[in-house]
Symmetry: C2
């Protein structure tokens, strides 16, 4: 395999990986009883950390009224907590609840174990190449 062939193979694999991840994510959300917007909002919180309802509305394209409802559902289900900002008491910080997130993570355990198994077959030099690649890819 030439370098070019390797690159296109990597691109195809990446697409397959994304598609399967998206599907699994959707399946998990459905099993747990989360709607599409609920799941989207949780993903945002996991990526960016605690956010205010206003910022969540901007990121999702939903109105603030709708976001209030989404947060209500997520809070009732125990996935997030509301915390009033002590500095500016108009504001509310929506923070994910770690235990609930860990419980959600259980639904990804098979995938995590598969990843573990794949990584176990690599030596340190190879792991470094993979880690660097993913770090560059996720931009961090």
């Amino acid at each position: 395999m030439s370098a070019d062939e390797l690159r296109t193979a990597i691109q195809r694999s990446t697409l397959r990986f994304i598609a399967s991840a998206v599907l699994h994510n959707h399946a998990v959300a459905q099993r747990v009883g989360l709607g599409a917007s609920d799941s989207q909002l949780l993903s945002l919180l996991n990526l960016h950390g605690p956010l205010t309802p206003g910022r969540l509305a901007e990121h999702t394209g939903l109105t603030t009224g709708t976001v209030t409802g989404v947060i209500d559902r997520l809070e009732a289900a125990g996935f997030v907590r509301r915390e009033r900002d002590t500095a500016d008491r108009r504001r509310v910080l929506v923070t994910p609840v770690p235990e609930a997130m860990a419980a959600l993570g259980e639904h990804y355990r098979e995938h995590a174990e598969h990843l573990d198994a794949v990584l176990a077959a690599r030596d340190e030099a190879q792991l470094r190449v993979i880690a660097d690649f993913l770090a560059d890819l996720t931009g961090s």
Copy 2:
């Protein structure tokens, strides 16, 4: 960084990557006017190739009546085609329309270009490590 540290770094990066991919996928679907089930069905077709409405209903957990409606929407929007199976004429094969898929892919061009840039900085040996890793990960 030890091998263990590299492994946990890889796991974290993978999670970040999935979360951001799921979010972007959702954003694209919304922009193009696809509902959650519509997008899910398209992902299934892209992964597994042409499927019958019955199988799609099984995979998604929707009823066959609902799947008919989803396919109607996707067909009207030009994303899929219905083809009657000539061998068993009760059956319908739902196949993605390549041009529409390519048009959808445009929404991922920034990501593809970023991936290109990241890969351009790797030599052939590193590319091979990454390609093998992704092949094992996606199980193919």
